[in-house]
Symmetry: C3
Subunit: 205 residues, 3 copies
């Protein structure tokens, strides 16, 4: 499906740019920026492929490599003006997360893993690029402190898995579960929802 390819590329662009922004913030040099862009964009999928022991996707398909290098150069050159496209980036990012989640669940199902593991693989595909980016930049992964989209991924991945066993058409299932990821994330951001705070006031001091 051409649409999926387009979404995949837009998601990769958004992830790579998020990597570049973190790297610029840490004043990394061009080589460091490129590596962080790369890891942010493909890190989650790479970990997934290693865990399920299938060939790592980006090593055989250079589209990702070119898209990431292009996005990184673009983001460095226009870094002062990225504010203008912040909303577009956020949208690409959200759509990318939805797609990455679904790709992860699908790969898990294709390799015959149990449901919980498939959901975990979907979430990992969408979230662990950011985790690796933060580790390489010597930060506690932001997704562990201020949950941004892991819940959205878990819900979307679960929906995909449940619908997968119904007679619904594949395309339709992708759209529904992708929409769940996107809507939950947009709602969470709009209403500043987050996971319940488990710390007492005293503990937070």
């Amino acid at each position: 499906m051409k649409l999926i390819l387009l979404i995949d590329i837009l998601g990769t662009v958004a992830f790579a740019i998020s990597g570049v922004l973190t790297a610029l913030n840490k004043r990394l040099d061009p080589f460091g920026i490129l590596i962080i862009a790369f890891v942010t964009a493909v890190g989650g999928g790479t970990l997934r492929d290693i865990l399920i022991d299938v060939p790592v996707a980006w090593m055989r398909n250079l589209t990702y490599v070119y898209v990431i290098v292009g996005s990184a150069i673009f983001a460095v050159v226009f870094r002062k003006r990225l504010g203008y496209i912040r909303k577009s980036l956020f949208l690409f990012d959200t759509i990318g997360i939805a797609l990455y989640t679904i790709v992860g669940v699908e790969k898990g199902i294709a390799s015959g893993f149990p449901p919980v593991i498939c959901v975990a693989l979907g979430t990992m595909t969408a979230c662990f690029g950011g985790v690796l980016r933060d580790i390489l930049c010597n930060e506690i992964p932001i997704i562990f402190r201020k949950e941004i989209y892991a819940t959205a991924c878990i819900l979307g991945a679960t929906a995909y898995f449940l619908l997968h066993n119904t007679p619904l058409k594949e395309d339709f299932i992708v759209i529904i579960s992708g929409a769940i990821v996107i809507i939950v994330r947009l709602l969470a951001v709009s209403f500043r929802l987050s996971l319940p705070n488990i710390y007492t006031k005293q503990e937070m001091e």
Copy 2:
């Protein structure tokens, strides 16, 4: 062997709780706590399985997943009272380390690796969950600074490997080498033994 399964589960509980405690200390949110619990409990075994290129154990056997999620919830809810079971946790942890070490050596032997590598795989299985926990929490791994049980694992793993070539029965070998890990660790903790300090007073300032 049912006993081994029980020990394995108690070890997983202790490791997961140790992960939760570190995560709580860093004020991570529920998603972060769960991931750290998971990585602490299965990280060492996962790295081992990837290095020797066999399927990752917890991805096919959901017992671990349920035990870890249950332990994490328990530890978060009762975190103020975990002090009361600190001794039990320490015991589970020590027994868990012994078992993890043996499982690692056994897997190395089964894949035909040389002795030194088998001992390294056993030690890695027991110790690297904690290393990954500390990296994700942005700390230098505690086991690199203040050696707690790596030596116990290395001694127990070496014993297992040596006895493995004798006509002794498997169960007996497991018990002996497991006991070595446990006793060395208990002695080290009781008498505050650690690896020799290689730094001069001047260097430590």
Copy 3:
């Protein structure tokens, strides 16, 4: 080729010692020092082998293990006098990087990966041991901030790949592309060349 084996060992020595020095700087204990020496020396190749899904080299060939343990003990004992052999170490390190780069490209070609990926695998083999060393020591990888030799590796790896398709003899190709890595690095260090600074004065404050 005996020469290649010798260079490989000298490179491993230099990498292991660089790991020991970082670990000593962080006041790690003997176990931590050994692990960091190990990771620095074999981390890049391990990541490469996992990504291309071939057996991890040092797990079947104990030469590396012995060389690393020996180098680590040597470096700890003589740490006050390592200054005297700093130039030799730098030379070993540079030659080691050149060789690691070539080994990485060769393995990529042997597994049939596309050119860009082969160059990336060569660079990764030479550079990621240091990245893992810095992550384990809780630092932003130095190679991301102050590019030291990644460019040299990329140029040498590209040369190797290009020459590989000519009728030139293998030995000759190895020598040329290795020399490129070495010369570029020596020039960069002598003339304090680095990647262009992309930050404005204002941003660096």
